[in-house]
């Protein structure tokens, strides 16, 4: 483990992805950059939101910037980890919020991390300046295939690392699922396009309308590999999973593709955004449980459908969609029915869909992907009528466009090794193309990690490292009363005025005052409170003022494998009390203890984890 004690004369903010510096000033502070697994372990244990974020966004830092009304800085802090803050601020699946300490039992509701991300994007000054730290040109040439979130994120990082990157995209516009899968009432295109452009401004060469594959007029992968020092496959998983109907052979043609008024949700949305005019009947059924299914349903409502019903195999509790997304859908009059599996499609004389036969399900065990299984009950079939059926039960990757043989894993996705390299030297893969359909933020996070992997491979050494920056904080930055501020609600469009168009955004975004209130709620978990046991006189003044049982008399502590601390062993017998210690997991950073300590033996440090150029 290397621990460098140094005083840094600070040059530019870009190099240091933390919130402790202000524009133009040279700040001199005693700082410790640590790669000590115990310090990284502390962060992983104590900053649940950042660790939950696949892109490791420095969340407490950017929320803190909002309280200081430095939206540009806040936006940049986001951008350091994720090149599309304004976009993710709208459609992110928010793995962070479910982990937020403020949402833990007894603490109330999680901080609206995602909405605040969007606020920073909305309120950064019009003349906002983007900060990038650039390596000198390396002369290496890289091809990235697929301009989706993973591809764009990787391309951006590779270009900052000094490589010259060419980005190939099949569609006319970059963005992948962002541009073609997600409806505009959830993600306005102007926001998306600006951020995509910024991501590629550093000389990423974008070639749209170019399809990589084997057919005529298509670029061959083997060819690209010859032209470039490295190739990254980020083609996502853009193929809809076929509907498994009872008694259907695997090789038999998919009926869903033959029937009129039956369509795969993914194709439905992609066509829509390619500009193909779409129509739906009065009664629309959507089969599926993901964001795509909900988007299809909400689009259908806007296209004039009167009754839209989403059919789930399991129940609302177990579908991977934001609860308020579900709530909005319901407010738009969409009905959700659980515990039913479609077993057959009912057609009329003209071969059009007439309805669906379902089987009643009961819940089964847990599947290995962490989702709940549903088991149809024999003889429980029943029918329901509809005019249009949209099937959105999943997406998958395709490999048939490759003219290079790559090893696949048992799920049929390409297998990658350390650093993201496939079985073929110099060919890497990232994002949904590797993992199958996941979330946007996961794709971006993966894209970045693979980019670093590629760079290391190309340059022969690691040039970007995960570090923890530790520096003293003068005083607590919160008040106990902040903890009683209720979670702010996202103002939304009146239901009445939502229908009839596909573009008017439903979520209006926070107003400033509301946002400041919300930002204040953040516990700033990256603050670490430590007691200097040698100076402690065991007077318990800190325990007296603590708002919860966050300071404990201890005789031991559980050490986890990764070196971080687990449960503290509490004792009440005076002759066993080895130390008074702050349980940072219980601590809500109110600072009360710091204020009262008679021997001033409590210190606060800011602990920020990020990728640092080295």
């Amino acid at each position: 483990m290397t621990q460098r004690e140094r005083r840094t004369i600070h040059i530019s903010e870009d190099e240091d992805f933390s919130d402790s510096h202000s524009y133009g000033q040279r700040v001199v502070t005693p700082v410790r950059y640590s790669t000590d697994p115990r310090d990284i372990g502390w962060v992983k244990e104590n900053i649940p939101c950042q660790v939950a974020c696949p892109a490791l966004t420095n969340i407490p830092a950017y929320i803190r910037m909002i309280t200081e009304q430095r939206f540009g800085r806040s936006y940049e802090l986001n951008r350091m980890a994720n090149v599309l803050p304004g976009t993710l601020g709208r459609i992110c699946s928010r793995p962070c919020e479910s982990k937020c300490r403020h949402g833990w039992p007894g603490n109330g509701e999680p901080v609206a991390i995602c909405h605040l991300k969007r606020l920073a994007a909305d309120y950064k000054s019009s003349g906002h300046r983007i900060n990038e730290s650039l390596f000198a040109p390396t002369g290496k040439r890289i091809a990235v295939i697929g301009a989706g979130p993973a591809g764009v994120a990787a391309a951006h990082d590779l270009s900052t690392l000094g490589h010259s990157v060419t980005l190939y995209e099949r569609e006319e516009r970059p963005g992948g699922m962002l541009g073609y899968g997600i409806p505009e009432f959830r993600l306005p295109r102007d926001v998306l396009d600006v951020e995509l452009q910024n991501a590629m401004r550093l000389g990423v060469q974008l070639k749209t309308g170019v399809e990589v594959g084997v057919g005529k007029g298509k670029l061959r992968l083997s060819e690209l590999r010859r032209q470039y020092d490295a190739v990254l496959l980020a083609t996502g998983s853009m193929e809809a999973t076929p509907l498994p109907l009872r008694g259907l052979k695997n090789d038999a043609p998919d009926p869903a593709r033959k029937l009129g008024d039956v369509e795969y949700g993914l194709d439905f949305l992609v066509d829509l955004h390619r500009g193909v005019p779409k129509k739906v009947g009065k009664r629309v059924f959507v089969v599926g449980a993901g964001f795509t299914a909900l988007d299809c349903a909400r689009v259908a409502r806007r296209l004039g459908a009167e009754q839209v019903t989403i059919h789930l195999r399991t129940t609302e509790e177990y579908i991977p969609v934001e609860k308020d997304e579900i709530f909005e859908a319901k407010r738009e009059g969409i009905v959700i029915r659980g515990l039913r599996t479609p077993v057959a499609l009912l057609t009329d004389a003209k071969g059009k869909i007439r309805g669906v036969q379902f089987a009643q399900n009961r819940l089964g065990g847990w599947r290995e992907n962490g989702r709940r299984a549903a088991i149809p009950i024999d003889g429980s079939e029943f029918e329901e009528e509809c005019d249009t059926l949209l099937v959105a039960i999943g997406q998958r990757t395709v490999n048939d466009y490759l003219d290079v043989k790559l090893e696949l894993d048992r799920w049929g996705s390409v297998a990658i090794g350390e650093g993201g390299m496939t079985s073929r030297d110099g060919i890497f893969a990232a994002g949904d193309y590797v993992h199958g359909p996941t979330t946007v933020i996961e794709a971006i996070g993966h894209g970045r990690r693979i980019a670093i992997g590629m760079d290391t491979w190309l340059m022969g050494r690691e040039r970007r490292k995960l570090v923890v920056k530790i520096e003293p904080v003068e005083k607590p930055l919160r008040e106990r009363s902040f903890d009683f501020i209720p979670r702010q609600h996202m103002p939304t469009e009146e239901t009445a005025s939502r229908f009839g168009n596909l573009t008017s955004e439903v979520e209006k975004g926070f107003a400033l005052d509301g946002a400041y209130e919300e930002a204040k709620r953040c516990y700033l978990c990256y603050h670490k409170y430590t007691i200097d046991v040698d100076n402690c006189i065991f007077c318990r003044a800190c325990i007296e003022v603590a708002p919860r049982d966050c300071i404990k008399l201890v005789d031991g502590v559980e050490i986890k494998d990764d070196g971080s601390y687990g449960e503290l062993h509490q004792v009440m017998r005076w002759d066993q009390v080895g130390a008074i210690w702050i349980d940072n997991n219980q601590c809500i950073r109110c600072g009360a203890c710091y204020m009262v300590c008679p021997t001033k033996c409590i210190s606060i440090t800011r602990n920020e984890m990020f990728y640092q150029d080295v």
């Binding site: 007894g106 659980g338 009961r362 819940l363 429980s380």
Partner: protein
Amino acid sequence: MAKPEHYVIIGNGVAGGEAAYHLRQRDQASRITMVTVGRLLSINRYELPKLFTEPNLDWRDFLLNPPEYYADQEISVRRNTWVTNVEPTKRQLVLRHRETLSYDKLLIASGGGRHIPEILTQYRDLMMKFGTYEEARSVCNALPKGGHMVMLGGDMIGLDLARALVKGGFRVTVIGKDFLFWPHQLDPDEKESFAQVLRDMGVGVITDYGAASIAADDRGPAVRRIVLASGETLDADVLLSFCGLMPSLAFLAGAGVDLERGVLVDPHLQSTDKNIWAAGDVCQIWSPEEKQYRFYYGWGNVKRMGQIAAFNMTGGDESISTFQDERLVVTGSGEIDSPYWHYGGDSGG
């Protein structure tokens, strides 16, 4: 000697009270704890409409059993207590005030709260409640003599109140596009004919439109103005939502017990956790005949569920079989009558 079983019952409604009584009969040595968010011992919710005809009643007149009953039966009733979490692996409940409560067998009888259609949720605060004695009493105080009450939906709980109100000389209008006569299953024609009977009983019924929006109007917050989809408006002194029941089981989220709209239980009322049962409006019972999970409502059904749950929790093996008739009928005197309105006074006291 073995440690006595600890039975915990969440909810002190008809199902819970009934279960507690039978648990005590079947297991004298056991420890029985009822947990309820209410401040009161079990009251007879079905009798609350009486408040409008006999204003001088106080809550003690609605008690199903006097305090002494619980003392004699050694049933402890933890009122004003919220369950925030159920931890089946530890067999304990976490209460909102951060105390834990361990159980050997758990019965979930938390009943149902009023359901407000999502499309109207933004007006939630403008609607009064009628679930508890306190709520009923405040409705009573809010409604002036001969005043006008508007009901959204008009399920059977609401219509029961409507009957009483009309008798009491109040005006009632039901906006019943979607939930009229819930939970009775009626086809459109039936529905219309029963609606007519209602009108003859003196209850105003609107079946063609639902409410589009609601606003407090300048005559003061107590007066609500309802705007129908048709555009026409009507003013109410009190506005209530009677759009069926929404099982109250927020505390079960993530407990690992299977839920859909309610707690999914087999015909023995046992949930997917072997130590957890459910009874009353909260549970969705698998019906082998109909091959689906369904709710059963009404005093008779709920009471029976309480009995069966208690029976099975104490080692019995009885499954839900005969249920009370659920058809809606018109009596000789030309009034609507529903089995859901029939209740006996005793809950095993």
